[in-house]
């Protein structure tokens, strides 16, 4: 590959990584937050306690804000397939196209249609319609995640297709079994791991924001409800996530062993491979520097045998991923997972039987507010960089999917996207805390939505019928 093409490829990859990293932050929140809102809505009706609706009112605003950011960054992504990766659609469009279309049809329309009722519906439509709308939005968001993860899993562990040349002689994937395309070996693990990641992200977000309100003196019942819901959700789900994550890892070992070798930093096939707690992988020299190793532990975790064989990266060369980012991202994800376990269990114990949170616990929870984001991104970097140089494992390399757009042009769009995303991320976080502060102030009535004259617009009445 000549240097100009290599630069263009690198810039296109950075641009896609930046886009998808920015995008995934918001679905990670909305997928689980939809179900949490559904829970709060049900509890409000069941118990008749206003605290559940108080919590609902704050979190539905966070949902709306996150949803808007998710929609606009998602639209950007769908365009980038065409602008930057035309080879992807040309070669595997028969698989990817319909899956993306299912996502739009089954999920996006559902979400977009019932979102307005969910956002502005309290007091304007019946409790049943509002609860139903909340359910349909949560369901639609989850279906979105399902179809996208189906496609992503197919790219990792493709099956149910055959390659046939088209008129131009290019080998193109043709589906032989949709069942096999949808239910790939890695799909159940990836879906489970991601859905739980979403719930953990929301759990720590809720606990963190509520702890922030608590520290500022907002001790309302709604705040405590958010705090407790977040902490309990986190404490229950983090052990489940560790278990599911382990299963996902074993599944990856079976289907993408090079990725696991990179995660563990194992260059040469070993029996009784040690667990590298820390190392600096050296791609050129195919070795690690400054290793800190626990003997035999990697073999024990991966093969469940003390002296089990773990295949090293050199067996898969030259088709191996860049090792250092995979290696470090994996350690970051696991490290945050352990921290989540510690914080959520300490918090759950401290809050038992209606106890109030202490100052230091609240501070700890505030510090963990965005821990779910960091862990989720780190996890995606492990799995996506770990797949390189393949875009679709064994079928299509990332380089072969890239388009003819010159490096300078991609550079312009990349700079524009980076500036935009950085600004929006700052605005999002600032606004989140602003909403939390405003929520606590008793003298400022919290408006229900942007309709300011208090009169239900015609469209709302129509949507409610």
């Amino acid at each position: 590959m000549d240097p100009a093409t290599a630069t263009a490829l690198l810039l296109a990859r950075i641009q896609f990584a930046a886009n998808i990293s920015f995008h995934i932050l918001f679905p990670t929140i909305t997928i689980a937050l939809g179900w949490v809102l559904f829970y709060l809505r049900i509890q409000a009706t069941r118990t008749g306690e206003p605290r559940f609706l108080d919590a609902y009112r704050l979190w539905v605003k966070v949902f709306a804000l996150s949803f808007a950011l998710g929609v606009v960054s998602g639209v950007t992504m769908s365009f980038q397939f065409g602008t930057n990766w035309p080879g992807f659609m040309e070669r595997v469009g028969n698989v990817a196209g319909p899956l993306l279309a299912y996502e739009v049809l089954t999920a996006f329309f559902l979400e977009a249609t019932f979102l307005a009722v969910m956002l502005f519906g309290i007091g304007r439509v019946s409790t049943f319609v509002h609860t139903l709308s909340t359910f349909l939005v949560a369901f639609g968001t989850t279906m979105s995640a399902f179809w996208i993860l189906v496609l992503n899993s197919w790219m990792h562990t493709p099956q149910g297709f055959e390659m046939r040349p088209n008129e131009a002689g290019v080998m193109v994937a043709h589906v032989t079994s949709w069942f096999e395309v949808i239910f790939t070996p890695s799909m159940p693990y990836r879906l489970g791991h991601m859905l739980i990641a979403s719930f953990l992200t929301v759990a720590f977000l809720m606990a963190g924001i509520a702890a922030f309100q608590w520290l500022r003196g907002n001790r309302s019942a709604g705040t405590l409800t958010s705090l407790r819901t977040g902490v309990v959700l986190a404490a229950v789900l983090i052990p489940v996530q560790i278990f599911v994550g382990d299963l996902h890892g074993l599944n990856t070992l079976e289907h993408q062993p090079a990725k696991v070798a990179a995660m563990e930093g194992i260059w040469y096939t070993e029996q009784g491979a040690g667990l590298r707690l820390f190392a600096i992988p050296d791609q050129e020299a195919r070795t690690n520097h400054f290793e800190l190793v626990v003997p035999n532990l990697a073999s024990l975790i991966l093969t469940h045998e003390w002296n089990g064989t773990v295949r090293g990266l050199t067996e898969f060369a030259p088709k191996i991923p860049p090792v250092a980012p995979v290696f470090f991202a994996f350690r970051l994800m696991v490290g945050i997972g352990m921290l989540m376990l510690l914080v959520s269990w300490v918090a759950a114990w401290s809050l038992r039987r209606g106890r109030a949170p202490g100052k230091w616990l609240a501070r700890g929870l505030v510090a963990m507010t965005f821990s779910g984001w960091v862990a989720t991104l780190a996890g995606w970097y492990v799995t996506e960089i770990g797949r390189q140089p393949w875009l679709v494992t064994g079928v299509l390399t990332t380089a072969d999917a890239a388009g003819p757009v010159p490096a300078a042009t991609i550079g312009i769009s990349l700079a524009m996207y980076l500036a935009l995303y950085a600004a929006l991320l700052v605005a999002y976080i600032v606004t989140l805390f602003h909403l939390a502060k405003k929520d606590g102030a008793p003298d400022t009535p919290v408006p229900d939505g942007p309709i300011l004259d208090g009169r239900p617009p015609k469209a709302m009445a129509m949507a409610a019928e």
């Binding site: 065409g82 080879g87 040309e90 196209g97 739009v104 329309f109 524009m416 309709i451 617009p457």
Partner: protein
């Protein structure tokens, strides 16, 4: 997919579906973007709030048609999808930046600090103008077959201005329908100004299209097709004359 139909039927069917999706997008998100284009035409924050509220429940459903249209292009004509989106790389990127700004400004202007609101209004209007202009620019490039000469650029820019005017007209008429009082009166005035730009745009595109493509020229000015097409320019002319 659709195995019961012969393959030759699929291309026109998908082309029609795509056309419908694009048309619905242009009309539906057109009035959203139009309201955005007009947003800072009034200095009154309460009026701006009413303008934004009038499209608040609809915009993301309307934007879905764009995703669907591009999705259909991608599913049915993957090669064309790659070629078109690569040729239009920068205008697509600018349109997306515009749609991002417009979309997030909805939420931010209502939820961010009060002092930041005017800035999000700028983002709202700027994003709407950018998205509308980029769409018009792409239309212009597409009509002339992605030419890169200065005349192609000039034509594409004229299309951009025409599209901004057209969307502003849609937005203004939407506001005429949905609002009362001072804003209603203001919207009528906006509609008249926007119409001028819109008509110029329609005229330029209508004149250039048959000139750029002999095939279209033959089709437009051939009997009996001209009978089926004639109502469009006649209706436009009638609208302009009565306005």
């Amino acid at each position: 997919m659709l195995g019961f139909l012969p393959d030759v039927a699929l291309a026109p069917i998908f082309a029609v579906l795509m056309g419908i999706a694009m048309l619905l997008y242009a009309v539906l998100d057109g009035f959203d973007l139009g309201v955005g284009i007009l947003l800072r035409g009034t200095p009154d924050e309460a009026e701006r709030d009413r303008m934004v509220a009038s499209i608040g429940p609809f915009w993301d459903a309307n934007e879905t048609w764009l995703v669907l249209g591009v999705g259909l292009l991608l599913v049915a004509f993957p090669v064309a999808h790659g070629i078109i989106l690569t040729a239009l790389y920068l205008p697509v990127a600018l349109m997306l930046a515009g749609l991002i700004l417009r979309g997030v400004a909805f939420e931010f202007r209502a939820k961010a600090y009060e002092s930041q609101k005017p800035k999000w209004d700028v983002a709202f209007q700027g994003g709407s103008i950018l998205a509308a202009g980029a769409q018009g620019f792409m239309l212009g490039k597409y009509i002339l077959g992605f030419g890169t000469g200065w005349l192609d650029w000039l034509f594409a820019l004229a299309c951009a201005v025409g599209t901004i005017g057209g969307y502003a007209l849609l937005g203004a008429t939407w506001l005429v329908w949905r609002t009362e009082g001072a804003l209603h009166v203001r919207s009528v005035r906006w509609a008249k100004v926007a119409m001028v730009f819109c008509v110029i745009g329609i005229f330029i595109v209508s004149a250039a299209t048959p000139l750029a493509s002999p095939e279209i020229f033959a089709r437009w000015f051939r009997f009996p097709e001209i009978l089926m097409l004639a109502p469009v320019p006649l209706a436009t002319a009638a609208c302009v004359l009565t306005a």
